[in-house]
Symmetry: C2
Subunit: 625 residues, 2 copies
């Protein structure tokens, strides 16, 4: 295996860029104290300026809570050192369960070879850590605990988090100020309790990706009855990108709203890159172990074997990967179903396994070894993300026989995983025109019995490369509403090139919008809180509040500056679109004051008229409003 860049050491001063470390403007971290001292749930709240009333008085606007994926990076009280990694928030919880042990050595042969290679020293994350694994015969998955009736600290954490740390009473008041959603069969309570979280996990309808070797995560939940989540893909390829860039991209992605990050690296040093990413990630990390397994056999799909793959699973599980995409649903018999497609098999993992199956004329070894894989998953609490190797790669191929045959198999595998108490979610398309998206969701709910669905878009048209964050964002918003639990982002570079930092941000903005639009449509409790605060700020010309409340405060402020740069314009009661005379918001306020006066006048007149009439007069004129 020829590796070319071993000699390049990591920059001595490896650190996250200043930009990624800035707190969000006018925001503070608040910590909700849970049921135990070591359970403090980090929340972001945005501070607002007061409303100036017509009579000159001021009325305070309460801070607005927003879901925050950025972890300690945006906390000014935390000193970040990428070489040390993040604090292991969950260590105590994992230890006190006394169902796992610290191993003396890594179990993966590849890890041991890699660790013994002194030429890699300069690339290596510099903290020594030992892997943790379930005690023999034990299952450390959140699903296992949930089914035992145990509410773990992780479950309590996500309950607070989903509620934005609001109390049940606060939530009841907030919910009254939002539209009733159309949840389309989802069952979303107005207040998420730890017990609800447990029951959803026990039912298989939600997962908390939480490898015991990744205690640095702030727990989060994926399921149709919770907030719609977003995943960002990063990763170097053989062609470009470095460890430093990938760590920076991961932090950058969490800043802009990535609930999980998948490291899809396929180039050199992916073992070392992954360690850096995991140690510094406050969100769960997913991978496609097949990519690395293929690297290990020189890129020749036919040379893949169960033994090689198994070692890769263990290698990555002991590093702390929280979920694995596993293409076990692509069966030998499905492959000919793709022969007439316009774009064949477009999933990398899918095409690799298809090639292996055909070369050996054997059933997919991930399918035949699925229960062996379950045994590994439960020893570390790695979630299955059952890969859709036959997802459509074009509008033409949407919802075809190959795709749905695999989906059915994914349903069978879900049941097997659940029988092993392994947390499981299921991947979906791809490229699907709008009117055919719902069928995907409905069949997934049916075949996979409501195991969380995790889709890539889907792209609703093929004609706009360069804008596929948007062609797919439309599909993502729709399928999120229909019940999809997590949306895998697509960047503007999709189909064209490798995303840089700005592409990552653009992809995330599109997908945060899609996820939030879905939450509004589902009627998720408190989702509209953020919209309402923005709308009130808008109506009251509180420009700075509008920028601070924006999903992307930097861009909002910059766009306003382009036309009206002066500080005075940030309190102006007009904007550049209409100029001072024409502002509809301004006129509209005058109308409200007018209407209020008018109503008062009308009431007075009506009263006068009433008196007049009671006095026997016949000249009463009805007053219309």
């Amino acid at each position: 295996m020829a590796k070319q860049s071993f000699a390049e050491p990591l920059s001595e001063s490896l650190q996250v860029s200043e930009l990624s470390l800035q707190p969000y403007p006018a925001s503070e971290k608040v910590f909700i104290q849970g049921s135990r001292p070591d359970l403090k749930v980090a929340q972001r709240q945005i501070l607002l300026s007061p409303t100036r009333l017509a009579d000159g008085r001021q009325e305070n606007n309460p801070p607005v809570r927003v879901y925050d994926t950025s972890g300690p990076y945006t906390d000014p009280d935390v000193v970040i050192d990428v070489k040390q990694g993040l604090q292991p928030l969950r260590s105590g919880w994992i230890e006190e369960r006394s169902d796992s042990e610290i191993l003396k050595h890594f179990s993966s042969a590849y890890t041991r070879v890699r660790d013994a290679n002194i030429t890699l020293e300069s690339l290596r994350f510099n903290l020594q850590r030992s892997p943790r694994r379930a005690l023999p015969g034990r299952n450390v998955s959140q699903l296992w605990y949930a089914r035992q009736g145990i509410i773990t600290p992780e479950m309590e954490y996500v309950a607070w988090r989903e509620n934005l740390g609001l109390s049940e009473q606060q939530m009841a008041s907030v919910v009254k100020q939002q539209h009733r959603g159309d949840a389309l069969g989802a069952n979303i309570p107005n207040f998420i309790t730890p017990e609800f979280v447990r029951s959803e996990i026990a039912r298989g309808r939600a997962v908390i990706p939480a490898n015991i070797n990744h205690p640095e995560t702030e727990p989060m939940i994926i399921g149709r009855n919770f907030r719609t989540k977003v995943n960002a893909n990063i990763g170097n390829s053989a062609v470009t990108s470095s460890i430093e860039e990938e760590v920076e991209k991961m932090v950058w992605a969490t800043r802009w709203g990535a609930d999980t990050v998948m490291d899809l690296s396929t180039g050199d040093n992916i073992h070392e890159t992954r360690e850096w990413i995991i140690r510094n990630s406050p969100v769960p990390i997913g991978t496609v172990p097949l990519y690395q397994a293929l690297e290990k056999c020189g890129g020749v799909a036919e040379d893949l074997s169960w033994e090689l793959y198994r070692d890769t699973l263990i290698e990555q599980a002991e590093q702390g990967v929280d979920y694995f995409t596993i293409h076990a649903g692509l069966r030998l018999a499905h492959i000919p179903l793709t022969a007439d497609r316009v774009t064949g098999i477009v999933s990398r993992g899918g095409s690799i396994m298809a090639k292996w199956c055909l070369a050996h004329h054997q059933e997919n070894f991930l399918y035949t070894h699925f229960e062996d894989i379950c045994d590994i998953m439960k020893a570390y609490d790695v979630c299955f993300s059952l890969g859709d190797g036959l997802r459509p790669g074009s509008i033409a191929d949407a919802n075809d026989a190959a795709q749905f045959a695999e989906l059915k198999t994914l349903g069978e595998l879900t049941k097997i995983a659940w029988a092993h108490d392994v947390q499981t979610f299921v991947e979906g398309p791809g490229h699907v025109p709008m009117h055919m998206i719902r069928e995907n969701m409905e069949l997934q709910l049916e075949h996979c019995q409501e195991a969380p669905f995790y889709t890539l878009g889907p792209l609703t048209t093929d004609i706009a490369p360069g804008y596929d964050h948007f062609t797919s964002g439309i599909g993502a918003a729709l399928i999120g509403w229909y019940g999809c639990a997590m949306l895998c982002y697509v960047t503007p570079k999709e189909h064209l090139g490798l995303p840089d930092k700005d592409d990552v941000k653009q992809g995330l903005m599109a997908y945060r919008i899609a996820a939030h639009a879905a939450d509004l449509a589902k009627g998720f409790p408190a989702a509209q809180l953020h919209d309402n605060a923005m709308s009130k700020a808008r109506f009251e010309f509180r420009w700075n509040d509008q920028f601070n409340l924006a999903l992307d405060p930097d861009t909002a402020r910059q766009y306003h500056d382009e036309t009206l740069p002066k500080e005075g314009h940030k309190v102006a009661h007009f904007c550049s679109m209409c100029g001072p005379k024409f502002c509809s918001m301004k006129i509209s306020r005058e109308v409200q004051e007018y209407a209020a006066q008018q109503t008062a006048t009308d009431q007075a007149m009506q009263q006068k008229a009433e008196e007049f009439r009671q006095q026997g007069s016949e000249i009463y004129h009805e007053v219309s409003v």
Copy 2:
């Protein structure tokens, strides 16, 4: 009325930028010959490179027709001179109907005053033209002709245009290669005939905006049974922008897919700006005459009068404006319904009229004079775009009593306009969460009896200023699918500032995607042709074809160049995302070849086995694929 910039003359060398004049890459204009010599329908087709087959032979890929809004600007055979304006394509058709006359003088008092003002000479479009008006008692609207059973050249033109100039036979074959849509009650034939166009217009279900004073337009149709259209707003405000910028923005907008353009200028010299825009526009132009009327009375809403407004309608109709947004549906009694809104009245026109109504405590004069307005519209064939002055300005205010009360009134006005044989469409929201969009469309279809709906977005969340082209693009795609006929774009600067050229392009890209996604979902004939061509090019690594087929070829190529700039990469059988070894498309092709071989082998084996069995053998082993 103090005007400040009269002294600034237009640049001597006023012209459209080179960028706006370039033909699209690898594209050519073709002209479909209609039923008469002067009816030639301009079409764009994209030329593709051949497919290289595995055996070394080449297979041609036919050119791909795409709907083209750019008019003569992208035709290398036409010399563009902004000072001369475009050729009046429809003049002969209008003249030969012999139902209109050329006036000696403009009928508007304001126009005459303005024309007599020598200080404006330097700003003025330099061609003298005389206005045209219907002969007394005549109606020159396409609706009137349609109801008389007359198929106008305009109707025939749009039939060809909607079909991309394909023959009925070609269309039948194309339709077989696309998904059956879910038209949700729309009635879209597989081939659009001129008679179908006529019948849809006669029914009021579609309009062709085609003022007889704007003969420069290439006719286009707006209706739920046709391609979903997109409008781009341009216009200067008191704060910024010049005539030159606005003309350039109009041309730029048509380049990137604007089917119509609204000139929403509110600043100085809007009469002169409008003349430049109309004379150079190949697409219909819409305005909100109220904005100019308000300018004429110094911005004081209370001083507006029917006489002033009427003169403005005539002024603009004789310049050639193709549709007017008229806020006649906002009635006095609706205004108090807005008092408890989070964002009050956000439509500029709506807030102006509300202020007028309250100040005078009188019914909206646009409502009381609606039939007088009809008389003006039919004398020039200006379409009504019935304005939604009470559209919601926030998620919180969506679908409220005020909004739907006005919609009902718009339905009543539609009937009155139809009784006058005036073409009419209806404006819609605004800000609406996804699950409440459909109700808007259904109520509009019901109240307005399928008169075309024309919506602004709607924005599906309020939390992302800076990205409202996207928050609204999601809503636009949905409502387009549900039956909305034209989508008014929103730019990234919405709520923040005045859009520049790049914002116009970003807004249009988002909305072209939304409109196309809607057409795919509706199953509009030949909509998927473009997607299929892209997907085939993608599968065959024809990179240059992918760029040329892209909605935005420049950006697609540029993104690819960022990672793989060399010319050799444009024929490479891999891309930067996966590198040479991992490309799923490449592997997938190998899989197809493998599967084909396998099938052949299996067939051969099966045949052998069959022979063997027929010979009485018992050792037959079934061959599985």
